[in-house]
Amino acid sequence: MTKPLNTNVVPTGLVSSKAKLRMNIILLVVIGLYIFSSAMTNSSILRFDADFFKNVWMMFVQLFPPNWGYSNVVMDKLLETIKMALIATTIAGILCIPFSLLAANNIVHNKFLYNVTKMFLNIMRTIPELILAVVFVGLFGIGVFPGILALIIFSLGILAKLISETIESIDMNPLEAIRASGGNTLQVIWYAVVPQVLPQFVSFTLYVFEINVRASVVLGFVGAGGIGLILRQQINFLSYQNVSTIIVITFVVVVIIDYISNKLRGRLV
């Protein structure tokens, strides 16, 4: 039996004093940072006065009722958005396969190649889709093409990361078994890696598709096609009832996509 170190000492807290100190320091730092950045952005709670809520309300009521007469225009652009998202997601889905294999440390043992791929993907994910769109519009002119390119790069970053992580977590034993029975690298990937990651792959691709539909609301603002284009126009004309038509229809479509992809995902696992 282990003897207590000191029987008469009664603990004073629920966590050790060291842990408590650490927690308090972290809390202090985070709150300190918050206060500092609030000051830098002039984000005082005192600014939430009656006027604030009145103004929000005044803006908000202008959204109602949505102008349903405008919905055929919205549908047109939304279909374009969906097409863009579909094409971009598909291309990104194909492109991400080599990238995610190269960025999985259980497949690629060459440290240099692995790190370079990882770094490339990381950098790609840091670029906001808006900049991508601005640059591609600069290169190819206004339209859906630069939008699709921006979405491809944007989703490639996300997809390759998610899938390389999935590959890194697969069961390595079947790979060894296939190798032990004389399979070459391609056969190992096809017979042991692909079946293990396929469901996740489809699931992530659907997820990225949904993200792409949402993202194209932004792209249109800089001329990269899709629903954002008319959103900008309507905001510029201060036609908020048309704006809310856009929002409502987009919402409904996103919900439908969400529903369908959940169904598909549920079937896969």
Binding site: V30, S37, F52, N55, V56, I87, V217
Partner: protein
Amino acid sequence: MNMHVPPKPKKSPIKVVRNIAISIGLIALYVWAFATIEIPWGRIFSERTITNFDRVIPKLFSPDFTFAEKVMEYMMETLFIAFTGSFMAAILAIPFGFFAASNINRNPFLNTLGKWILNADRTFPEILLALIFVVAIGPGAFAGVLAIAIHSVGMLGKLYSEVIESIDMNVVEAMEANGANKIQTFFYGIMPQVIPEFMSYAIYRFEIDVRASTILGIIGAGGIGTLLVISSRNRNWDEVGMILLVIIIFVSIIDYFSTAIRKRIV
């Protein structure tokens, strides 16, 4: 050797029909998408694209370093906006998360309502939120903070509710069996289970918000997006290059630390 291999088991006809229908649907979807998308290939593969490349690419990759100071200034503002906004969202999302978690809010109607509110919030364009807050509070960083905060609540609330739905409810039962009341159960049984994940997601969201706050520039709600919009309108690609460089460096650093911190938390 007997060469006979039993045939594959027949799938039920309904399944076969369904699979065929799905395949046809998918093929039709792709044909539709690729056939009807309006891409002016002629224009894209033209002299003009080449001159554009000549004009844009060299400048993009030789960033204007005299512009660096100004970019840094705006980048810092972006960081402050993102941090303040994410922090506010991290707190605001807690009640929404609990409201939308089916194991806490057992009223199916209210629960579904909660999930829909969060979903609608995520779909509401950030740009419009920014516009509303510019009107309500004036142009500047605070409007951006609010837009980021409100928009992030949608995603964080959803992630939080998923965390809450995955907690060990037996622990909650054990607390109840102790004679603890609801509030005590909340603080002793539920919060310790969810706090680390909440923090991890909040940090993750901060990472996203740094990138997302670029969008605010479109409407004048502060941040580095303002510069981006102006520089690109002026076709100052060396300035855009500088903005891009600064964003890549900052986001990479944040990415690195946030991953390290999140690994330690959970």
